[in-house]
């Protein structure tokens, strides 16, 4: 039955024919994963190991000294590191919640309502999937200046809220909620808001989780806003602080323990959120196609 190999996609259990795939996948995973393992080790290295020659991959005597130094480093500049961290957390939470709300609301009407411009709007949004924000940094600066958003806390939030890929994924996901379900609710006298909160939201949890992850990555890693639109140190974010560490210390090995510790703090939340939500993400991705 060699000709039926094709049905082995998504197998239930291990079979020796899968060994060849493991032989490629495992070395590949090691190659891709090792830089991250390296950061983990580097962040916990004491000073003599950071300077060790030849450099070692794994840490021998782990210490949290780098993290303690990181905590102090912010104080030297006048703005405590906790301030950057606090800013990042507030901005991240607000942006993620608002992106979810705005994209699901828009996704609902774009999927289930009939109106003029509906297809045009979705087409333009699909086109905007390939929007490269860095390309229009200058016009964006002009707009943000005209709106008097320079040096405000709001500037961290507003420009990030329209996330084309978020709306795209949510709309594709809502498409498969049967119209009959909404019709029935409407017959019972449910308003749009009731339908949205009682039927749409509970049925698209996987899509919401996915948008949350994407939104989180966009806002948590964002340094452009602090770099271009904010001069006041007190309202810059941790990602930005982190990037200044890199340019200040990046090329000297001594500072890298510190920056590795900061990288780790940047990376860990991404990882945890993804691990918790990966099932929902895969569910959403099944509907992600552009038709």
């Amino acid at each position: 039955m060699a000709s039926f190999q094709g049905t082995q996609i998504n197998p239930k259990k291990f079979h020796k024919s899968q060994i060849k795939f493991y032989l490629i996948l495992i070395p590949m995973a090691i190659l891709m994963g090792s830089p991250i393992i390296y950061i983990f080790n580097h962040a916990f290295k004491p000073i003599d190991e950071l300077f060790a020659f030849p450099p070692r991959f794994f840490v021998q005597k782990p210490t949290i000294q780098n993290f303690l130094n990181l905590l102090e480093s912010g104080n030297v500049g006048g703005t405590p590191i906790t301030r950057y961290f606090f800013n990042s957390i507030v901005v991240t939470i607000v942006v993620v919640v608002l992106i979810i709300l705005i994209s699901t609301m828009a996704g609902y009407v774009l999927s289930k309502k009939q109106f003029k411009l509906k297809n045009t709007i979705f087409e333009v949004n699909t086109l905007a999937l390939m929007f490269v924000p860095a390309a229009v940094a200058i016009p964006r600066y002009i707009i943000i200046e005209k709106l008097h958003l320079i040096n405000t806390f709001t500037v961290h939030i507003l420009p990030l809220l329209a996330l084309p890929v978020g709306l795209f994924l949510v709309k594709q996901f809502i498409d498969q909620i049967p119209n009959e379900l909404l019709e029935a609710a409407r017959m019972d006298g449910a308003s749009d808001f009731q339908i949205f909160f009682r039927i749409i939201i509970p049925n698209i949890k996987p899509a919401i989780a996915t948008v949350a992850i994407l939104a989180f990555q966009v806002v948590w890693n964002n340094i452009e806003t602090s770099d271009l639109y904010v001069n006041n140190e007190g309202i810059k974010t941790f990602a930005f602080y982190m990037s200044t560490l890199t340019t200040a210390n990046g090329n000297t090995v001594a500072g890298t323990g510190l920056t590795a510790a900061a990288s780790l703090i940047m990376f860990i939340p991404n990882l945890i959120i993804f691990i918790f939500m990966q099932k929902q993400v895969m569910d959403t991705m099944a509907h992600s196609g552009i038709k």
């Binding site: 000709s3 996609i9 995973a29 828009a106 009407v109 016009p139 890199t246 920056t259």
Partner: protein, 296 residues
């Protein structure tokens, strides 16, 4: 009356997104197009100069023609299709193994893309550090392959290669997950039918069944690959720590825009480069659509 009510709600739901979408995505693009026909130094009011920016971009900007265009082409042609094919192959292989190991391996392959931005620059600056305590230098010195440390990130010969490797490392992102999910959701009966129709091996299976059955995900993955490629423009500057990069070796279009816009304050000229960049991204995505769009 009822109909009017519904219309009103539609715009309440859609309003916030549309408004922000217009202000921060559409209008900036329109302004960029408008400014690209002007001379604008950010102090005086923009002065209309017609196509002059585009003409000098194409005829007088030696850095653009000799470095930026070849660099961008080289970088995007390797990173774009390379990352995309790599993502597809990894996704396809992952689909051949059981759920538990697949989840773990997929997580490892996906995690570099979570490190988007410059958060990981420190890692690369340590690995490629120019002195003997840099990881790569230490390794090569130890093996006696080189006699003195190499300034990896400052030397024009190596910078581009390092940029490509680093970007390929982060290339398995959302598009990779979409393709993995697409492959897993293909109805097994289609494969059975395919083998009855005379498909002989796994390669034919991929070409005739797998890819055609998941065209929408393939297209989504392709668009994401194009975007990631052009968004990764900042990497050269982040790695070398200077804009322009050493001898313009890692100069991509995004860096060229920043160089003129935020360093030299020639906003009109920078806008013209932005417009060219957006057009290039659009063309690449158009090619992807031609390849994978489903014909009704």
């Amino acid at each position: 009356m009822n109909k009017k009510n519904i219309d009103y709600n539609t715009w309440v739901f859609l309003g916030p997104y549309i408004l922000l979408f217009l202000i921060f995505i559409i209008v900036p693009v329109l302004i960029a197009i408008g400014l690209s026909f002007t001379y604008f130094n950010s102090i005086e009011f923009p002065k209309f100069i017609g196509l002059k920016n585009y003409v000098s971009l194409l005829t007088q900007d030696a850095v653009f023609m000799q470095n930026v265009v070849p660099n961008t082409l080289k970088f995007s042609l390797i990173v774009g299709p390379g990352g995309y094919i790599l993502s597809f192959l990894m996704a396809w292989m992952l689909a051949q193994i059981p759920h538990k190991p697949r989840t773990v391996l997929a997580l490892i392959l996906y995690s570099p893309s979570m490190t988007a931005g410059v958060a990981m620059t420190v890692l690369w600056t340590v690995i490629f550090s120019g002195d003997a305590s840099g990881y790569l230098n230490g390794f090569l010195l130890n093996l006696n392959l080189i006699s003195e440390p190499i300034q990896w990130l400052q030397s024009p010969e190596y910078l581009m290669t390092i940029m490509i490797i680093v970007t390929l490392w982060t290339s398995m992102g959302v598009g990779f997950l979409a393709m993995l999910s697409g492959i897993l959701n293909i109805n097994p009966e289609i494969y059975e039918a395919g083998y009855i129709d005379g498909i002989k091996n796994r390669f034919q299976e991929i070409i005739y069944i797998t890819i055609p059955s998941m065209k929408p995900q393939m297209l989504f993955g392709a668009v994401m690959a194009v975007v990631n490629t052009f968004q990764a423009g900042a990497i050269g500057v982040a790695l070398s720590g200077t804009n322009p990069t050493p001898q313009n070796a890692g100069q991509l279009m995004v860096n060229h825009i920043d160089d003129y816009g935020f360093i030299r304050y020639e906003m009109g000229y920078a806008a013209a480069i932005s417009v060219v960049l957006l057009l290039v991204v659009y063309l690449f995505s158009k090619v992807a659509r031609k390849l994978f769009e489903e014909k009704d």
